[in-house]
Amino acid sequence: MYRNHILFSIDDSSLKAGVKDVENIFKSELAKLNLLDEVNVLETGTLGFFGKGVCAKVYPENVIYANIKPADIPELISEHFLKGRILKRLVLQSKNTSQIDLNYSKRIVLEHSGIIDPENIDEYLGVGGYEAWEKALTSMSQDAIIKEVKDSGLRGRGGAGFPTGLKWSFTAPLKAPQKYFVINADEGEPGTYKDRLIMEGDPHKLLEGIMISSYAIGATKAYIYVRGEYKLSIERLNKAIKQAKEYGLIGKNIFDSGFDLEIGIKVGAGAYVCGEETALIESLEGNRGNPRVKPPFPGVEGVWQKPTVVNNVETIANIPSIIKNGAKWYSEFGTDEVNGTKVYTIMGDVEVPGLCEVDMGTTLREIIDNYGGGMKEGKKFKAALVGGAAGVFLPEKLLDAKMDYNSLKEYSAVLGSGAILVMDESADIVEMLGSILKFFKHESCGKCSPCPRGNEILNKIIKKIIAGKGKEEDLDTMINVAEAMAKTSLCALGQSPIMPIKTAINNFREEFLAKNKSKK
């Protein structure tokens, strides 16, 4: 029996900071003092913040240590693990708050991240994992599952916010020799990494969601399309799938129900457009990742022309909790109109960049102040780019707008990616828009004309403005071009530039005009 558990946060940022070395030194120091049978050294997913080096959480004291260097280990062990005194100088702190609010009590999809070892299926079982899968498979009909998901009000967390249960109900009744369920984990929106955190922190939760969802629509094959850069996610998902197979949670005739399910991983190759579901399906089939013309929609003709449901990682990570606790329980999260929680990643000029999972409808101000630790160095807020490149610039007057589909209305598509890039007064909105447009031009796939051609024009204009040679009517031209692209492009890539362009120009028009004057 252990008296302490120490969980090292393993994520991309801590791996770069050398967490593996720190962990090994930690273990060998413990061994020297004969403490290995008293202190359990474990690995877990992200603890919820970045740029703090090697971080670890210690139970039962529930202390988080940050920026642990190899040289700190002897002191840390002798103080905390030998003498039982918390080593204050290493405890995570921010200037504004003594303790960062990690909001565990209100989490759904990330409830176990930072608490369990994601590479150990037993720990997931220990926190009630796979109970929902048992329940769904042994006691619920497919219709009952879809009804529960519909009643919960769950909407897609990939961007468009389409009701998940409704999406399933189009595909479930179709008769086909094979149906597919696909997870879109090709998280390409710049600055977005919420899906990575879910896959790294609690891969079994995603798998459980996939199992239930596949069963609900009658798909016996499921794929996770994950972007190639997510090495740790891929590794952990592979391990999780292997463990689930060994435990008989997937495979043939699961729990004697007669239902078979296989889950496979497809690694993406880095194209932004493959986050679009039809391009993703093309890529999954081994073709060039070009979007398809809709209709037919993937729900009817998707992977290899078979009915296919494509859902986002975060959406499906909600499913186990909904099935286990019911739609009514789920509806207690969020606002009256929009249920559930949302995972955001906070970056830019804040004290503690990181992640948070909060109720739908939490305001931008609350997110920045409570979970981002406030503005960096007490500077003044200027704008937040919410939703990545295909996102919107929210000015100060929208700080108190509720972040949900209804309140953000035409901006609501940006909720999906959950990326919040906070900019202080020193930020240059025009340059920022310039780099976003450069990104779109680079990623445009060239299948339809409006998108590559339009992006070309937009780039020319923004370069002119940045060089101080723009005219006021250029701003209107940009909006007109982007609007034409939005109406005529095949997929979301060409339809997106209008969002950052319109919000940047409408909210910060004087900055665009000032570029002209300053360079003259």
Partner: protein, 120 residues
């Protein structure tokens, strides 16, 4: 390949192993692990507590450690903290006494007056 019953067993075992990471404990046993506490055998005492609790399958009691209290002559010192009751401090605890504390105080709720240093 596991059956549903196997999974249930695994789930229960894992829950037990992870109970440390929850905070719904009825009683907290805090062992003074300063230099003098350790010198007087606090580590042995703590192991005894952990083993006794594990043997008796008690999972709502948390064993943790703290620094020196200032009762060096009474080390090893053990605090028994229970909500709504005065904190009991036992002094000069050894493995034998630790076992009695578990059986009489933790299980039966009876304070062992002869070991008590202070109660407040």
């Amino acid at each position: 390949m596991k059956t549903l019953a196997d999974l249930k067993k695994i789930r229960e075992q894992a829950q037990k192993n992870m109970s440390l990471r929850e905070s719904n404990n009825r009683i907290k046993i805090v062992i003074g692990m300063g230099t003098s506490g350790i010198a007087m055998g606090a580590r042995e005492v703590m192991k005894t507590f952990l083993n006794e609790l594990a043997n008796r399958k008690i999972d709502d009691v948390l064993v943790t450690q703290t620094g020196e209290k200032g009762l060096s002559s009474m080390e090893p010192v053990v605090d028994i903290i229970e909500e709504g009751k005065p904190t009991i401090t036992y002094g000069l605890v050894n493995s034998e006494k630790a076992k009695r504390i578990v059986s009489e105080h933790i299980v039966n709720g009876k304070v062992i007056e002869e070991f008590v240093v202070e109660a407040k």
